[in-house]
C-alpha cells in the first residue's frame, strides 16, 4: 500500500442488526493534514471511529468489512489499547478527565512514569513507584506545547471547560508515538474564543506532522481549519473535497441533502422597545460558578423574543439560572410590577415562568424515564395537573398524561417511537423538543430557554428555532433565549442583550452591524464610541 498516507480506510462496510450503517466508506489522511469529517447525527461518523479504535461494540455486533491501513500497514485493531499502541489518539467530546486528580495525573493516566523499588523488583512491575517529578515535567512540556500556562499540579475539578479540552489534547500529544489524532466535536462545548484557541492549536499540531481527523458540526470551523473535507450521509461518502474547491453553503447542502435557508424571516420583526414591560430585573446578582452575574438591570417586553448573547464565562447563562432559583441570587425581579421571591424555583414556576436548561442531559431530562413522564413531570409536581385525586392521595392519570404527550409530540414534531420511549434514546434535537414540551405544559407567560441548539445538528437546529419563532408569533409567548451563537440569536430575536463581565453591555437590534456586535461582545463598545464622540 501507499505509505504516504497516515491513515487509509478502504471500502468499509458495517451492518448493525440488519441495518446498514456504513456502506463502502473510503477515507485517506496524510501526515500533517487536517481532515474534516462532516455529517449529520446518525450519518455514521461515530461508527467509523469505533471501527478505527477497535471498540468492543464493533466486535460484539459481528465486526466489519473492509481494510484499515496505518502508515501503509494493514492493521486489525481489536481494542482501544491496540489503537493507542499504533499511535492513534482521540480527543473526546465529553471529557475523559478525573476531577479529583491533578492535571499531571490526568495527562499521565495509565501511562505513569515509574521507577523500580525494592519490592517491585521481587513482585513485578505493577508495584513500581510513581515518578512524580518526571511525570510533572512531561506534563509541563505538553502544556507548554499547547501554550497553556496553568500549573500542572492544579486539580482538574476547578478548571473552566475550555481548559479541560486542552488537557485532553495534552494527554494525547504526551504519547510519544502519536501519528493520528481524532477530534470528536471538540468545539461543541467551547465558546467562540476558546474554540479559536483550539483550532490554532490544531494547526500547530498538524504542522509538526501529526495527521488530524476533525469531526464537527460547525462549517465555518471546517473552512477555517481543514485541508480536506469528507462528507458522510446515511453511511456513504457523499463527497471528498479540497477546502479551496468548496464553500459553506455547498458543504451544508451536501451534509443535509436539502437546501438550508440561512436567511431569516426578517418581516414582522419590528423592535419591541415600545411594548409594555412584563418582567424587570434590578441589580440582579447570581453566583453561578464560571458564569457569575454582577448586577444586571434589564426589562423584558411583553411578546418579544429577547436574545441574551455574549462570550462564555461572562454571565449570560447565569441570568436564567438565577431567576429560576438554581443558584444563589440577589437583587430584585418584578413580574408585571409584582416583586417575586428569589431563590425559590417553585414561586417562579407558579408565576408562569418556564425554563429550558442549557444542561439538557444533566438537569433538563430524566434520561431513563419515558417521554410522557418527562413532559408532564413539572406540571404534575407544581400545579397538580394530570393527577387523580382520591382524598389526600394522588395518583398519576396515565390516560390524560398520554393524550397530552401525544398532542405535544405531534405539535412539536418530536421524532420518536411513541410517548413511552426513554428520552435517553432520542437524538439531541428531539430531547430538546421534549424539554420545550415540558416547559410549555406549564403554560408559561415567559419562557427562558438557554442554549437551545447546543450539540444539535444543522437540520434540527433550524427546526428548534422555527418552533420558538412559531410559539412567539402564534401564542404571543414572551421568550428569553440565551445562546452562544450570535447567528441564531440574530435569526429570530427582536432585541439582543449582550452581557460582558457579568454586566449588561448593551442592547442591539438583530439588524445592527457585525462590528457593533463584535465590539459589544468584547466589552469594547462604549469605549470605542466614546472615543469617536
Amino acid at each position: 500500500m501507499d505509505t504516504k498516507y497516515t491513515l487509509q480506510m478502504k471500502n468499509i462496510h458495517k451492518v448493525y442488526f440488519n441495518n446498514k450503517v456504513l456502506n463502502g466508506v473510503n477515507i485517506n489522511v496524510k501526515p500533517g493534514e487536517i481532515h474534516a469529517l462532516l455529517g449529520e447525527n446518525g450519518a455514521g461518523k461515530s461508527t467509523l471511529m469505533n471501527i478505527l479504535f477497535g471498540m468492543p461494540v464493533i466486535h460484539a455486533t459481528g465486526g466489519f468489512e473492509g481494510d484499515v491501513y496505518i502508515n501503509g500497514q494493514l492493521v486489525n485493531v481489536k481494542s482501544p489499547k491496540e489503537a493507542m499502541k499504533l499511535g492513534i489518539g482521540m480527543v473526546h467530546q465529553e471529557f475523559m478527565l478525573i476531577p479529583g486528580f491533578t492535571i499531571t495525573e490526568n495527562i499521565k493516566l495509565n501511562r505513569e512514569t515509574t521507577k523500580h523499588n525494592l519490592i517491585s523488583r521481587l513482585l513485578g512491575s505493577s508495584l513500581k513507584t510513581l515518578d512524580k517529578r518526571s511525570m510533572e515535567s512531561d506534563a509541563r512540556r505538553s502544556l507548554d506545547t499547547l501554550g497553556l500556562e496553568i500549573s500542572e499540579k492544579a486539580k482538574v475539578s476547578g478548571l473552566p471547560v475550555g481548559h479541560m479540552q486542552f488537557i485532553e489534547i495534552a494527554r494525547e500529544i504526551d504519547k510519544r508515538n502519536i501519528k493520528l489524532l481524532v477530534f470528536d466535536e471538540p468545539t461543541a462545548v467551547l465558546t467562540e474564543s476558546e474554540a479559536d484557541n483550539l483550532l490554532k492549536s490544531m494547526k500547530k499540531l498538524a504542522s509538526t506532522g501529526i495527521a488530524i481527523l476533525f469531526i464537527t458540526h460547525r462549517l465555518d470551523e471546517v473552512m477555517d481549519t481543514a485541508d480536506n473535507i469528507t462528507i458522510l450521509r446515511d453511511g456513504e461518502v457523499v463527497a471528498t473535497k479540497k477546502k479551496e474547491e468548496t464553500n459553506v453553503s455547498e458543504l451544508a447542502l451536501l451534509m443535509v441533502g436539502r437546501k438550508i435557508e440561512r436567511n431569516v424571516p426578517s418581516e414582522n420583526r419590528k423592535s419591541s422597545e415600545d411594548s409594555e414591560d412584563i418582567m424587570t430585573l434590578k441589580n440582579l446578582r447570581v453566583s453561578m460558578p464560571g458564569e457569575e452575574v454582577k448586577g444586571i438591570n434589564l426589562s423584558i417586553k411583553k411578546g418579544e423574543i429577547l436574545g441574551i448573547g455574549g462570550l462564555a464565562g461572562q454571565g449570560k447563562i447565569g441570568i436564567a439560572n438565577g431567576i429560576m432559583g438554581l443558584y444563589p441570587t440577589r437583587g430584585e425581579v418584578y413580574l408585571k410590577g409584582k416583586k417575586l421571591k428569589l431563590n425559590d424555583p417553585k414561586t417562579m414556576i407558579q408565576n408562569g415562568i418556564g425554563f429550558v436548561s442549557e444542561d439538557r442531559r444533566g438537569i433538563g431530562l430524566l434520561l431513563d424515564s419515558s417521554i410522557q413522564l418527562n413532559i408532564v413531570l413539572t406540571a404534575m409536581q407544581m400545579q397538580n395537573k394530570f393527577l387523580h385525586k382520591i382524598g389526600p392521595i394522588t395518583q398519576i392519570n396515565n390516560g390524560k398524561v398520554k393524550r397530552h404527550a401525544i398532542k405535544m409530540i405531534n405539535n412539536l414534531d418530536v421524532r420518536c417511537q411513541g410517548p413511552q420511549q426513554l428520552t435517553r434514546r432520542l437524538s439531541g434535537g428531539n430531547q430538546q423538543k421534549v424539554c420545550i414540551a415540558r416547559a410549555l405544559t406549564l403554560e408559561p407567560d415567559i419562557l427562558f430557554i438557554s442554549e437551545p441548539t447546543r450539540g444539535i445538528d444543522v437540520g434540527a437546529k433550524k427546526l428548534i428555532l422555527d418552533l420558538l419563532y412559531k410559539l412567539n408569533k402564534e401564542l404571543g409567548m414572551t421568550i428569553v433565549m440565551t445562546s452562544s451563537e450570535l447567528g441564531e440569536l440574530r435569526s429570530i430575536c427582536n432585541r439582543i442583550a449582550i452581557i460582558s463581565e457579568g454586566k449588561l453591555e448593551g442592547i442591539l437590534s438583530p439588524f445592527d452591524s457585525d462590528v457593533d456586535f463584535g465590539l459589544m461582545m468584547a466589552g469594547e463598545y462604549h469605549k470605542f464610541h466614546k472615543e469617536e464622540a
Partner: protein
C-alpha cells in the same frame, strides 16, 4: 478563567478563622461525637485509667489489622467491604486444620497464615467476580455474600466434616463423629494445643518505654529530614519546602509532647507504666499500615484510585477495571484472613460458628467512627476509629450499670452503637456531600 480565579480568591478571603473551625468540625463530626461519648463513658463507668488503657492496648492490637483490611476496596471505589467475613472464614479454616494437626505456637500460626492464603485468594476472587456483576451495589452485595458464605461454612463444618471430608479427632469434633464442636480451645490447659498468643508472646515490653524509644527515633528522623534539604532550585520548590519544614516541625513537637508525657508516666511510677505492649503484633500492624500507605504511591495504587474515581474513564484509558476491582477484593480478603488469625491468637478460643460473624460489622463501624467514609479512608482513621470504638466497648457495660443500674443497658448501647454508627455515617456522608455542594455555591 479570570472569573474562576476571582471567585476562588473571594472564597479564600472570606474564609475567616471561625469558618475554618466550622469546617474542621463539620468534616470530623462523627469522630468528635464519639470522642465526647468515650470521655463521658469513661467518667460514668468509674473504671481506673490503668484498666481502660490496658484493655485498649490489647484490643487495638487485636482488631486493627482487620480494620486496615478495609482500606483498599474503599480506595478502589467499592465502598465498605462487608465480605471480609469471608476472609475471616478462610482464616478459621486454616486454624481448624492446624489445630487438628497439633501444630502449636508460632510455627502453627505461620502455617495458618500460609494455608489461609490460597483459600482467601479463591474466596476473594469469587467475591470480586460477583461484585463486578453488581457494580454500584457493592456494599449490599458484599454483605449478602457474607451471610451466604456463612451458610456454606456451616454446611461444611457441621455436616461434611466426618462424612465426605474424612477427619477423626475426639477433641475437635462432636461426639457423633460428624461436625466440628462449637468452641475450640486454642491454648488448651496444661499442654498447649493451639496458637494462643503465638504472636503476642514473642516479645512484650512496657508500652511507655517503647513510646519513649519510638518518639526519640521519630524526632531524630524529622530533624534529619529538616536539615537534609539541599539542592533547592527554583522558587516554587522553595515554597513547597517551606511548607514541608512546617510539617516536620509540627510532627516534631507532637512527638516531643508524647515523649514528655511518657517520661512523666514512667518517672511518676503510676500503674500505667506496667501496661505491656505485644511488640511483634504491633510491628505486623505497622507493616500493614505502611503497605496501605505505600501502595498508593505505586502504579497499582494509582490504578486503584483511578478506578475508584471513575470506572468509565479508567476503562477508556486502558485500565482493566474488572481485574483491578477483583484484585482489590482479593487483597482485602487475604488481609482479613490474616487479621482473623491475629484476632483469634489473642482471644485464645475459636467460636467455630460465631467468631467470624460480627467481624464485618464491627470493623466497618470502627473505621467509620475514625472519620472514614464510603469514598475515603486512611490508615490514621482506621487506628483512631479502632481505639474509640473499643473504648466505648470497654466502658459501656459499667457506664450503663452506673447510670441505669443495669449492665444490660450498656450492652444494648453497644449493639446500638455498631449498627447506628454505620447508618448514621452513611447518612452523614450523603448529607455532607450536599452541604458541601451548597456551600460551594454560596460564595458571598
Amino acid at each position: 478563567m479570570a472569573n474562576v480565579n476571582k471567585l476562588k480568591n473571594k472564597i479564600n478571603n472570606n474564609t475567616n478563622f471561625g469558618e475554618k473551625i466550622k469546617d474542621v468540625v463539620m468534616n470530623n463530626i462523627v469522630t468528635i461525637i464519639f470522642v465526647v461519648l468515650c470521655l463521658i463513658g469513661i467518667k460514668l463507668s468509674g473504671l481506673p485509667i490503668f484498666f481502660v488503657a490496658n484493655e485498649l492496648v490489647t484490643r487495638i492490637s487485636r482488631n486493627s489489622f482487620l480494620v486496615l483490611a478495609l482500606i483498599i476496596p474503599v480506595l478502589a471505589g467499592m465502598g465498605l467491604n462487608f465480605s471480609i467475613v469471608v476472609g475471616a472464614m478462610a482464616g478459621q479454616i486454616a486454624i481448624i486444620a492446624v489445630t487438628h494437626w497439633g501444630i502449636t505456637g508460632l510455627p502453627g500460626f505461620l502455617l495458618c497464615a500460609v494455608i489461609a492464603f490460597p483459600f482467601a485468594v479463591l474466596f476473594g476472587y469469587l467475591t470480586g467476580k460477583l461484585l463486578n456483576k453488581t457494580k454500584g451495589q457493592e456494599m449490599i452485595t458484599s454483605m449478602i455474600v457474607g451471610y451466604f458464605a456463612n451458610g456454606v461454612y456451616q454446611l461444611v463444618f457441621l455436616f461434611l466434616v466426618g462424612t465426605i471430608i474424612p477427619m477423626k479427632n475426639n477433641v475437635l469434633m462432636l461426639s457423633s463423629g460428624v461436625g466440628i464442636r462449637n468452641t475450640i480451645d486454642l491454648s488448651g490447659g496444661v499442654k498447649e494445643t493451639g496458637i494462643k498468643y503465638a504472636l503476642d508472646q514473642i516479645l512484650k515490653l512496657p508500652i511507655f518505654y517503647v513510646l519513649i524509644a519510638f518518639s526519640i527515633l521519630a524526632i531524630l528522623y524529622n530533624i534529619f529530614k529538616l536539615t537534609n534539604r539541599r539542592g533547592i532550585v527554583n522558587r516554587r520548590e522553595k515554597q513547597n519546602k517551606s511548607k514541608d519544614s512546617f510539617k516536620y516541625i509540627v510532627n516534631m513537637s507532637m512527638f516531643a509532647i508524647l515523649l514528655i508525657l511518657s517520661i512523666v508516666i514512667v518517672a511518676g511510677n503510676t500503674p500505667l507504666k506496667n501496661i505491656q505492649l505485644p511488640v511483634v503484633t504491633v510491628i505486623v500492624i505497622g507493616v500493614l499500615c505502611l503497605f496501605n500507605i505505600l501502595i498508593v504511591k505505586t502504579k497499582l495504587g494509582q490504578e486503584f484510585r483511578t478506578v475508584g474515581q471513575d470506572k468509565h474513564i479508567a476503562k477508556v484509558a486502558g485500565i482493566n477495571v474488572d481485574r483491578i476491582r477483583v484484585l482489590a477484593i482479593v487483597i482485602s480478603t487475604v488481609l482479613a484472613a490474616w487479621g482473623q488469625l491475629i484476632f483469634l491468637q489473642n482471644i485464645g478460643t475459636l467460636n467455630t460458628y460465631g467468631s467470624h460473624e460480627q467481624i464485618g460489622m464491627f470493623s466497618i463501624a470502627a473505621l467509620l467512627i475514625g472519620g472514614a467514609s464510603v469514598s475515603k479512608a486512611t490508615v490514621g482513621q482506621a487506628i483512631l476509629g479502632t481505639a474509640l470504638f473499643h473504648t466505648l466497648f470497654i466502658v459501656s457495660p459499667l457506664a450503663g450499670k452506673n447510670l441505669f443500674g443495669d449492665a444490660q443497658i450498656g450492652e444494648f448501647f453497644r449493639a446500638f452503637v455498631v449498627y447506628g454508627v454505620i447508618g448514621v455515617s452513611l447518612g452523614l456522608h450523603a448529607w455532607k456531600n450536599r452541604a458541601e455542594l451548597k456551600r460551594k455555591l454560596k460564595i458571598e
